[in-house]
Symmetry: C2
Subunit: 199 residues, 2 copies
């Protein structure tokens, strides 16, 4: 398969790349330093990237920035940034990307454990995750040509505990390699409208 | 209790008003024709409305417009409208509104059955509902002064079946009066971070 991987250089993305590269052609996309330059918050850049690639079999997003601050200190700019990136950025990736998928191709987006296990500072992340999980279920029943769409909901990454540990006390960290299995199930399996919790 | 009810003249809002007016002072708010004028998509109008009222004991949103179209025909404008109204409009109502709540007061937002039971044309509604459900859980653990926040997730309204019936075949309609009980539980109970499914 020819797979576009957005956010290829993040912690999750590197794990996904390692998992999928063993069997497929993985094209790394991201805001900088990747084979293909693509900013989730910029729908035109999504289209441009896909036009440069031609048809693909799978589109995977391991990306999606959000604002991180106490609930009452999150600014309007941080809310807008979170919505434009992790939420609508991934939605736009799916909606633009489906045009470039071969029949039966798949889209895999990223949610996260904060969807239903919130932590302080994480309200914008929680909101984005909730939107993504509902969106993949809704999109799954309307996508044409046998296209599939799922999400993976990673727990806190073991690789991120040095930075995020204080926010996630008591959460069992998961390795990026284990999280990558969720993406493999979505891309290489046959499900649609599913959320794979790897937590 | 003194309760601000946003979307008071909608189908759900009228049911909520009937239920809560029996025991409380309910102030109707909406974009037009209400006691207090308030547009969820306009944060400044939310603040202005609350400043005109002084402290309240509860804020209830039975509002939140979304775009409604086949997945691949939803325009960027319809997505933005959905996010600005049902999703971030309700979030802004909570974030601005909490300043005007008395200690221990409550916020009640509206999700909907499309969160996890999607129908064609409903992807933007599903997304907004997912964001709201995740947001109330996240906000509940950070709100100060014993403030509470919950959501109600109504099924398709019996009163709306003439218009919406073709989209919701097989869904069991619920009356606005029954849906209103969810809002009563949130306002008059002690829960926080809950989603009451009245479906």
């Amino acid at each position: 398969m020819k797979i576009l991987l957005v956010g290829a250089h993040g912690t999750v993305g590197r794990g996904v790349a390692t998992e999928l590269k063993a069997r497929h052609e993985v094209i790394a996309a991201g805001r900088r330093g990747a084979t293909v330059t693509l900013d989730l918050a910029d729908a035109a850049s999504i289209r441009k990237a896909l036009e440069s690639l031609g048809p693909v079999d799978a589109i995977v997003s391991a990306a999606g920035q959000v604002g991180w601050a106490p609930l009452l200190e999150l600014t309007q700019e941080q809310w807008a940034y979170s919505v434009a990136n992790k939420l609508m950025g991934q939605v736009n990736l799916a909606l633009v990307g489906q045009e470039f998928l071969r029949d039966g191709g798949s889209i895999t987006l990223t949610s996260g454990v904060l969807f239903d296990q919130p932590v302080p500072y994480g309200a914008a992340a929680s909101l984005a995750n909730g939107g993504i999980e509902a969106f993949v279920r809704a999109a799954a029943i309307e996508l044409p040509r046998g296209l599939r769409i799922n999400a993976v909901s990673p727990g806190v990454l073991a690789e991120s505990m040095e930075d995020l540990g204080p926010f996630f006390r008591g959460f069992e960290p998961v390795s990026a390699a284990r999280v990558a299995l969720g993406y493999s199930r979505s891309v290489e399996g046959s499900d649609t409208g599913k959320v794979y919790a790897v937590q």
